[in-house]
Amino acid sequence: MTDNRFFNRSELIGILVLAVFLVAVLPLTLDVFRLNLVAKYLTYAFVALGLVICWGYGGILSLGQGVFFGLGGYCMAMFLKLEASSVENTKIQSTPGIPDFMDWNQLTALPFFWKPFHSLTFTVAAIVLVPGIFALIIGTAMFKRRVGGTYFAIITQAVAAILTILIVGQQGYTGGINGMTDLRTLKGWDIRPDHAKIALYFFEVGCLFVCIMIAQFVRHSKLGRILVAMREKEDRVRFSGYSVANFKIFAFCIAAVFAAVGGAMFALNVGFMSPSFVGIVPSIEMVIYTAVGGRLSILGAIYGTLLVNFAKTSLSETFPELWLFGLGGLFIAVVLAFPNGLAGIWGDYVQPRIERLIASRKPKPEGWTDGSVADGAPAE
């Protein structure tokens, strides 16, 4: 078995299968509209990936991931919106050169916090730093005081509620309930036609694999093992001399940054950003994707996100009445019967069968009988 810093052999196979699926199978079989839908679903996969580290490994359930998704998305959308609101595009407004919703709300100048978003470099930095620092503040305040578990969940949920109300209320600065719509170009490159959508899809998949690699690295490092130890017996880790709070803050921050990258991808791929992706309901749905995929499995979270969203789209198209029953039932079933989600089902039921099947096909070396030698160790 290869002992790599990133993955072992079976994980490598899993990642390659996912790569083939996302890079070759989906683009070859789906039309651009459906591929764009997949791109939209994959933006949630970033959040689910962060939740695997934060919730699955660290045991910290955050119900406010929509906040970070939204912060990343809004940073990106602000840049795109500014580019779309150039003076010649907006010359019918009473104040040309500012986004349309500001004009509708009688703003006459660009607010100060919008100005740096003229720069793409600043925007990219902000997508990572704004949510990261925000998570750092929340995490430091909470974990240093040993607030955890249910309390943390409720407070992050409150933060999600606050940010939604704020965005909806401050229409002139944020676009209100409609969000930022009509995003057009990225540095002069139109993001709306089909070929741009395909290119953005591949860019997103690339980013996703970078995040997967980071997650794998964290998981196989000592850090990942401390996170698991912390989840299982926090006091023992503390008594062993580790600063539990710092590890938790790290896990929470990395989840926040992943979510923010997802949000930025959302603004690029879908072409708008609105508060309906920030609040409590989307935040909990993102947790559900992770739960369905398997909270302990990095790849499971991605499959879970895709599966739930596919089901959501197809079911709500055909049976809008049944969809919420299905989704609700799914949550309950996953929690009660399959706490480790799809990955758990795979690991417990499917994988052993496949391995048995492969093992029975292989011709056995002479003199070996089943079970006489443990795991390929040489007989003495």
Binding site: L61, L63, A141, M142, R145, R146, V147, G149, T150, Y151, A153, I154, I155, Q157, A158, V159, A161, I162, I165, L166, V168, G169, I280, V281, I284, V287, I288, A291, E321, W323, L324, F325, L327, G328, G329, L330, F331, I332, V334, V335, L336, P339
Partner: protein, 308 residues
Amino acid sequence: MFGDYSLGDLGSIFVMQGFAGLILFSVYVLMALGLAIIFGQMGVINMAHGEFMILGAYVTWMTSNLFQAYMPGLFGGYFFLAMILAFLASGALGMLVEWVLIRHLYKRPLDTLLATWGLSLMLQQAYRSVFGAREVGVELPQWMLGSLQVTSSIEVPINGVFVMCLTVLITIVVAYVMFKSRWGRQVRAVVQNRIMAGAVGINTEKVDRYTFGLGCGIAGVAGSAFTMIGSTGPTSGQLYIVDTFLVVVFGGAASLLGTIASAFSISQTQSTLEFFMSGSMAKVLTLLAVVGILMLRPQGLFALKVRK
């Protein structure tokens, strides 16, 4: 800001805003009481609490329609029957949910959150299928309409006064049940030490089921009272659930007194701020203050000293 108002006007404004705050306070207390029992005492995060409340509201609405159709003479008193029915309906549903779902999850509090969220989605869809997506309003009996003229510039709506009296009454009943009755002692014993409580002969499963039922029943009553001041839709419950959790956490999860104190301070802050700025900013500032204080004092206002 104050220049346009005389001192007397300002006084009246504060009294009336304060009264609006008191109505909000009543709704918070009614919702938070049930949650304080379920979350504070049992440690179950019941995200479907709002939906239990809405069930109570729909029961009240159906009762009022029944009275209107068959017993118009008794319409003035329908509310008292509706409240009892709401309590029974929500309580029964709560006990069923506890039996089917919650009792498997006592050792995994975070998972109760996910499961009850799923439950809340199903209940919302059920309400939408049965009662329709549109919000329904209850017709108030004649004696609840209108307002009391306290002074020449201050008037308070009667239905608000009624809801407040109801809140006080229910709070006293709950406090009595939890702290004075034999059953309340059993509940607290089970919460403090499940194994020992079982060892001295308390049927812990039965206590759990009735406690959860009681919490949900109170939510039903809250929904019933809620119809007096607002209309009810399938997703109305969700609007209040985060506020309610904050009220309970802010008060200190295991303390009924803390719940009431925090409901009072949150609702008063919010309604006073609402006068000076837009409703959304008032809400943002209130919630921010609550979250900020919780970060400084995570155990809430009134914390019981317990060893973990």
